[in-house]
Amino acid sequence: MKMRRLFAFTRRALHQFRHDRRTLAFVLVMPLLMIIVFGYTFGGEPKGLNIAVVNNDEAIAVGGGTGEVSFAEELLAYLDDETFIVHTYSSQQEAEVDLHDARVWAILSFSSNFSSNLAQRFSSSGDATKVSVVNIMVDGTNPTVSSSVIRGIQGALQDTLKEIQSLFQLPVSTEPITIDVSYDYAGGNHAEFIDSFAPAVISFALMMVTTMLTIILFVNERRYGTLQRLLVSPAKESEIVLGYALAFAILGIFQSIVVLVAAILLFHITIIGNVFLALFVVILLGVGHQGLGILLSSGARNELQAIQFIPLIIFPSVLLAGLFWPVESIPGYLQPLSYLIPLRYAIDAERAIMLRGWGLEGVWIQIVILIFFAVVTLVGSIVLLKRRRE
């Protein structure tokens, strides 16, 4: 393999992009349009969210000592079990570690006097100044999830309050009673939908552009006979494939930087992680999809047939990779399929890097999977091209 020949293919492809202004515009406008359109209009209702509960609440005696009640337990019982999967933790520290490592979306902590303070406050002889606090700590990186968590917990709170009202036989006309909730956003910043959408759009846009352009590039290579012509030359398949991979990597970096800069300027998104690591991950995804594009291009005889592959790639990715709504909100039987979609790993890694500020130690699994995907598809396409000799 000669680097000069490899670069020759890179340069050719880049020149082609340069001459084709409309395609270049598409590369940039498409992701910006996605961010603007979807970023403002979308909101889903996720399900099956893992949350941590640290319950130190002590039950109190009610009804003249005939029974015991813990209002914290009551509140937990009112949580919608379709929305939440509750994990009980014994210490706040443990729960916070898991929140930080994204194993749970939120922590609900009840202090030991949660029930007794509530009872004190509402019983006729009690002390109304006692305050019951449920502390909610939410992962702020995914606003769809954090708003769902908060909405879900507030719903359960309302239900608990109704029960308390009937227990203490308070007249319905009484001022609404409240339980104080303190919110705490983990992950350094309280992301808005657009913040968590930007890392996903960068990954998705690069995947689309690379797959589409590669399929068309190679369909044309076959149709115009250039690929056959190269057989009668010292050019090697590895030089062709890697040369074009480099061209797409350069195009991808260019695209991602433009999208990021636009998102920062237009929507004031915040990136707390390492931008270079984020670019590296997105490029890995692009290179893998370039290989996939070459493999798919062999199944298409012309550009029209090539276009038909696009929905095949896009729909599973859009629906299953966590682009708009978290993977947790997909029906359970479909969730295992999301593990087969490379975009999922890229989006996971991009969000972790850009919003949580994770480094290599946090996203190495995703990176290994993406490297594996890229190596398999690139080696596959080199083998495929070697077989083009009739």
Binding site: K2, R4, R5, F7, A8, F9, R11, R12, H15, Q16, H19, D20, N220, Y224, G225, T226, Q228, R229, L230, L231, V232, S233, P234, A235, R389, E390
Partner: protein
């Protein structure tokens, strides 16, 4: 070991006995199922005759640029080229002549290594096809122009120059030379997609010439080219042979082949006659090569 020819297309090959795995020599047609009696274990068995190219070296004659032996290509049951024996010397302009579908393109593709022969061997510049070490010494101009149409003429030439590892200075010099040769210097920075069909043909030729090949394979370079440009093309080719380039050219415009130093008539994948244009005409007592070909086909058919 020399290749033994056992009949039309039939060759002797070594296969393995299905029961004891001993080597058995048998003859047959590629892809055919043959019955063998194993001399080692004595059992009867069926084996599929190998379809790969027998890696048997031909006795190499260094003055020959192209040498083929029993070159055969089958697409399924259709025989595109049958039992072709060609010898082409250095400095020749050899014309492969024949109507559409006679096997000209398949022959050129086999000589370039684009298509694997079903059986038989081709040797170019003393190396068995597909070439490895001598790849940089051959040039190929395919029937379709095979250029990157979304790149400029210069970008196409530069790509091919870099593929052939020409130095920067050499590439610059050769680009100027070939552009002057095809008279398209003014169009250097035009996108190929904006050029006319004839211009694209000339650029395609330039890409094949850039690395100064010793042998040039031209697959129907004059198809779809207007008469004026066809004449220009033949001038180019004659100039190239004068510079010492060996040219193998296919065409179905039979009378064009008067420019060739030697030509072969192909029909249904077989070489039915070969010689200098004058010899071919004299042989059939014909005024033109076209008449000679028609007379010849009549004779072969009867």
């Amino acid at each position: 070991m020399a290749l033994n020819i056992c009949g039309l297309g039939m060759v002797e090959r070594r296969v393995r006995c299905p029961s004891c795995k001993a080597v058995v020599v048998c003859s047959g047609n590629p892809g055919e199922i043959v019955h063998i009696t194993c001399p080692t274990c004595g059992s009867l068995g069926k084996v599929t005759f190998p379809t790969d190219i027998p890696s048997v070296p031909l006795p190499v004659d260094s003055s020959l640029v192209v040498q083929t032996m029993h070159l055969t290509k089958m697409f399924g049951k259709f025989t595109a080229v049958k039992d072709l024996q060609l010898t082409i010397k250095a400095g020749e302009m050899y014309g492969l002549l024949g109507p559409n579908g006679s096997g000209k393109t398949t022959t050129i593709k086999m000589l370039c290594g684009l298509t694997r022969p079903t059986s038989g061997t081709a040797v170019v510049l003393g190396e068995q096809v597909p070439l490895k070490n001598k790849m940089h010494l051959i040039g190929y101009m395919p029937q379709d122009t095979a250029l990157y149409i979304d790149n400029t003429v210069h970008e196409n030439l530069r790509l091919f120059g870099e593929i052939y590892s020409l130095s920067k200075e050499k590439l610059k010099q050769r680009e100027q030379e070939v552009l002057q040769f095809i008279e398209l210097g003014k169009w250097r920075n035009s996108l190929v997609s904006t050029l006319s069909g004839g211009m694209r043909h000339r650029v395609s030729l330039a890409c094949a010439l850039l690395h100064e090949p010793q042998v040039l394979f031209l697959d129907e370079p004059t198809v779809g080219v207007d008469p004026e440009l066809r004449a220009t093309f033949w001038d180019y080719f004659t100039q190239l042979t004068q510079q010492g380039v060996t040219i193998i050219i296919s065409t179905h415009y039979l009378d064009e082949a008067g420019h060739c130093s030697r030509a072969g008539f192909l029909r249904h994948g077989r070489l039915i006659a070969e010689g200098t244009p004058d010899e071919l005409k004299q042989k059939m007592n014909a005024a033109s090569l076209e008449d000679a070909f028609l007379a010849l086909t009549k004779k072969v058919d009867s």
